[in-house]
């Protein structure tokens, strides 16, 4: 009996592009799936621009990234007490091509609803040398709700420490040095207005186009960028942005190898977009495996993250396996 052809093959045969990879970020956050709009600042329509390889724009490049780790370290009744570690670092890569730490900061937080704690527990917590984040009453009540709230506070704390380190570093950048930020540039006025700062966004929860422009942006071929545009609809600082495809997406996913670049909202950014993109293409090597996001994660950013994780509290790392001694069987 002849096996029936699978429908997935049938659609490829009909002209669909084969895909076989679903990065975490492709699911996005539900609240950000609605397009927020964009204003083109380069050309009249969203166009594709081939990107030749280009050298780095300066002899030294600084890379900024941050991490967050948190765990529930206790319950008082049903009120969770969360311990969080957030950290950010800038690693500067000089002419010897080796990144070295230029700046870093870390915070340890205790996140809970203080009013919900029993007096002894609260005294013990307040007497400890730790920064306490007190959750609001409407954020707690149910343990699950409290944990979601704690998660959000950890996110904000990490963003804050990243912003602090990033702004410090931006102020110290040499005249030919650049700063590459993992994530949004527009969250900081200093960074958003800096002439030599770039944001590299790997996750695409927010979309700025729809229809034909969306298809053009998300099916961008490798080694191409889109026209520059100004994202609309969010409350951050104005920046210019463009999509850049680092790796071919055929056989993977629409978002595979796709990054969005943010630069200051200035005509010079448009003028430099192709050259800067060509440099970022060169940053594809070395690949940042074994990180699952290696298709969009620049190795120097991965390096900063590795550095921060190596310095994070060991007891906040998830156990990779049994800590029991191995047996002979």
């Amino acid at each position: 009996m002849t096996p029936r052809r699978r429908w997935t093959e049938a659609i490829v045969a009909a002209g669909a592009v084969r895909a076989a990879y679903v990065p975490d970020a492709s699911t996005g956050r539900s609240e950000a799936l609605e397009p927020t709009g964009a204003e083109l600042v380069e050309g009249a329509a969203l166009e594709l621009h081939p990107v030749p390889l280009a050298p780095a724009p300066g002899p030294a490049i600084a890379f900024l990234d941050g991490i967050q780790q948190w765990a529930v370290v206790g319950y008082d009744g049903v009120t969770p007490i969360v311990r969080a570690h957030v950290a950010a670092a800038v690693r500067r890569r000089g002419p010897d091509r080796r990144p070295r730490t230029a700046d870093e900061a870390a915070r340890e937080l205790a996140i809970t609803r203080l009013a919900a704690l029993s007096a002894p527990v609260r005294r013990a917590l307040e007497g400890a040398d730790v920064e306490i984040v007190d959750l609001a009453a409407d954020e707690t009540g149910q343990p699950g709700r409290a944990l979601r709230a704690a998660h959000l506070r950890v996110d904000r704390a990490r963003e804050q420490v990243e912003r602090e380190v990033g702004e410090r570093c931006a102020g110290r950048l040499g005249p030919k040095e650049w700063l590459v930020v993992d994530g949004l540039l527009s969250e900081s006025r200093v960074l958003a207005e800096h002439p030599r700062a770039l944001g590299v966004i790997k996750s695409h929860g927010a979309q700025y186009f729809e229809g034909e422009a969306l298809e053009r942006a998300l099916t961008l071929p490798a080694d191409h960028r889109t026209s520059a545009f100004r994202p609309l609809g969010h409350q951050h600082r104005p920046v210019y942005s463009w999509y850049l495809r680092l790796w071919p997406w055929d056989g993977n996913d629409l978002l595979y190898g796709l990054v969005r670049i943010e630069a200051r909202a200035h005509p010079a950014s448009v003028a430099q977009a192709t050259a800067l993109s060509g440099w970022l293409l060169r940053e594809r090597a070395p690949v940042s495996t074994p990180d699952a996001r290696w298709d969009r994660l620049l190795y120097p950013i991965h390096d900063v993250e590795t550095y921060l994780r190596s310095r994070a509290p060991r007891d906040l790392l998830p156990a990779t396996g049994s800590r029991l001694p191995k047996t002979g069987s």
């Binding site: 080796r98 090597a285 690949v287 495996t289 074994p290 190795y299």
Partner: protein
């Protein structure tokens, strides 16, 4: 000089479940640009951890090294470079990579309780650290230091002297040294020359006097120990660092047998400027008979032959002896002995008696005659027919003197004989404490030839085993060298307290004797530069790499170029040279007149008599020994001892 100030740490001990730190081994990482390598000595200081760890200091030697990056699989490098190896090198960022080292523990302080190495900071070892790590502090200082420098431990531009313990190198606690390595690159002979110089400089006064006997068994290796060689500034600096004088040996005496003509010395040290200070090594029947067992091969070893040789030595040699057929004999040399043998054979044949003579079977007598005649023929020049010998100065050995016995061109049988006799005499005299020195280093190259791991149990091998196992009590110390240690009898190697390795052959390193070495150490051994050695010593718990300066004496092949050997002299000229060596006032023509028309045997006999007597008036004594001038006569056949059947296959 190693900087004694506390340097910044160069690494940190790491331990994982898969690579834990143990009491005998630990791992540490360093910066990529670290100066340390395989063989480097490091110090670990526990600055944190439990109460028992704080203050603990651990010394280790690096035995292996690893480098790896965060690359998950080689395929990812290909992907990053898009298949172009040239692009891989152009990546804007260099991958994170690690230098991870494995070190074997040399010493822990305190030694008890013995614990896993703490996860502390790693420092490069300084002078004092090296002394502590190698337990040299027990014998370097103190009221009676016993330290013998063997070389400089070097690592990352730092260096520290490494000392051996004289009690463990030269006895009585342990003794003997074995050095192995491939020919030409391992610098075995150079290492021994330097070590002898170091011993002569640092041998503790409370241990008495010491000398060395070196057997030169190949080429001109040891023929110029008293002549200065080339040393550069770096060599001189190393000599100064090790407190050894960068000069050749002050006192060297050379001994070499004659060639077959009995007057020209069988050595490469025959340049006119040097030949005068080589003493002939000549033995007669007495000396040979004492070690006749050397001449017997495995098939020969039986009680009957032994008994007959003992009979000759005890009852016949140098005694008036009746052969039982009516003839009196006084056997003093090979010719006399052969006359006795002929008388016995003739007597037995004439009387028609049985095949027995004084309880000895005629076949046994023939066999012994054959062997003795064989040595007289094959070692002509070493063994003399006339009975007058010239030997090493037994009983008059001088302190800090090297005695070189040049056997390079002597028949292997003769080499065995010389080796056996010299070492046995050394042992005899050391046992009686009347050698003149308290300890003797015997240097034997090509040990795998004299004491092979396989092969027959020869007298020489048995004797070497005896020295190895009991020599340390007597002060008889064996310094053996060979190309392949695995091919030397394991009890001889095993009894060497100190083992030294030059550059080694990889095949040799694959043999079981090297299983304790890490692969990296083996690679280092296989690629050791000239002048670097690996040393194992009872105080060192791990092998240590050291550098030593070039020996101050002239190297053999340089010596041959600077002092090319002279061609063999005509008989008359050779005799003149022999006598001139004893008395510079002699005029050659006088000697030539005296020996004109005289038989060569007579001249050689007279020369031997002069050498033995060393008279004030050499020429007069020589003339007297030669006897009055006689009219020339028709030459008669020389009475030598013809072998009955030199290549006989008879099973005796």
């Amino acid at each position: 000089m190693i900087d004694k100030s506390r340097p910044t740490p160069i690494g940190r001990v790491v331990a994982t479940e898969l690579k834990p730190a143990t009491p005998h081994q630990f791992h540490f990482w360093t910066a990529n640009e670290t100066p340390i390598g395989i063989g480097a000595i490091v110090r670990v200081e526990a600055s944190e951890g439990g109460a028992l760890s704080v203050g603990r200091v651990v010394y280790g030697v690096v035995t292996d090294g690893f480098a790896y990056s965060d690359l998950a699989t080689p395929l990812h490098d290909v992907v990053g470079a898009e298949g172009d190896p040239a692009r891989a090198a152009e990546a804007p960022t260099v991958r994170q990579e690690i230098r991870l080292w494995t070190a074997a523990v040399l010493r822990q302080i305190p030694e008890e309780p013995l614990q896993p190495v703490p996860l502390g900071q790693v420092h490069v070892a300084g002078d004092a650290d090296v002394a502590q790590a190698l337990r040299m502090d027990a014998y370097v200082g103190g009221a009676q230091p016993r330290a013998i420098p063997i070389g400089l431990y070097t690592s990352g531009g730092l260096e520290a002297p490494v000392y051996l313990d004289a009690d463990f190198l030269l006895g009585p606690e342990a003794a003997h040294l074995n050095i192995s390595g491939v020919s030409g690159l391992a610098t075995k002979t150079s290492a021994v020359e330097f070590l002898l110089a170091s011993i002569f400089r640092h041998f503790p006064s409370h241990k008495g006097r010491i000398a060395a006997v070196c057997f030169n068994v190949k080429g001109p290796d040891l023929c110029f120990l008293d002549r200065p060689g080339e040393l550069d500034a770096e060599d001189r600096r190393r000599y100064a660092r090790l407190d050894v004088e960068p000069r050749p040996f002050d006192r060297v005496r050379y001994f070499a047998p004659f060639k077959a003509d009995g007057v020209n010395l069988n050595t490469l040290r025959t340049h006119p400027d040097l030949a005068g200070d080589v003493d002939p090594l000549v033995w007669g029947l007495q000396e040979v008979l004492d070690f006749a067992e050397v001449l017997l091969n495995r098939d020969d070893i039986d009680a009957k032959a032994d008994a007959f040789i003992d009979f000759l030595a005890d009852r016949v040699l140098n005694k008036d002896f009746d052969d039982g057929f009516g003839r009196q004999h006084r056997v003093q040399n090979f010719a006399d002995l052969d006359a006795l043998f002929r008388a016995i054979f003739d007597g037995l044949e004439a009387t028609g008696r049985s095949d027995m003579w004084r309880t000895h079977h005629i076949a046994t007598i023939r066999k012994v005659r054959n062997r003795l005649a064989n040595i007289s023929t094959r070692c002509k020049g070493l063994v003399t027919d006339d009975g007058l010998s010239n030997d090493l100065p037994w009983g008059e050995f001088q302190d800090r003197t090297v005695y070189v016995v040049d056997l390079a061109n002597v028949d292997p049988l003769g080499q065995d004989l010389v080796f056996a006799r010299v070492v046995s005499k050394l042992r005899e005299h050391l046992e009686r404490r009347d050698l003149g020195v308290d300890a003797v280093v015997v240097f034997v190259d090509e040990l795998n030839k004299y004491a092979p791991a396989d092969g027959p149990e020869t007298y020489v091998k048995k004797m070497l085993l005896d020295i190895s196992e009991r020599g340390r009590y007597l002060g008889l110390v064996l310094f053996g060298a060979e190309q392949f240690r695995s091919q030397v009898h394991r009890r001889i190697v095993g009894n060497a307290g100190t083992l030294v390795y030059g550059r080694m052959d990889m095949d040799e390193l694959a043999t079981p004797g090297y299983q304790v070495l890490s692969p990296a150490t083996k690679i280092k051994l296989a690629t050791l530069p000239i002048g670097e050695l690996m040393v194992r010593h009872p105080h060192f718990t791990q092998p240590i790499f050291v550098r030593f300066p070039r020996p101050a004496p002239l190297r053999g092949r340089d010596g041959v170029e600077r002092f090319p050997p002279a061609a063999d002299l005509p008989f008359e000229e050779a005799v003149v040279r022999q006598l001139l060596r004893l008395d510079r006032r002699i005029r050659p023509n006088q000697v030539k007149d005296v020996i004109a028309d005289r038989r060569a045997e007579d001249v050689r006999g007279a020369l031997a008599a002069v050498r033995r007597a060393r008279p004030e008036d050499v020429l007069a004594y020589f003339r007297k020994a030669l006897g009055t001038r006689v009219a020339p006569t028709a030459p008669r056949p020389r009475q030598v001892v013809p072998p009955l059947n030199p290549i006989s296959e008879e099973p005796y």
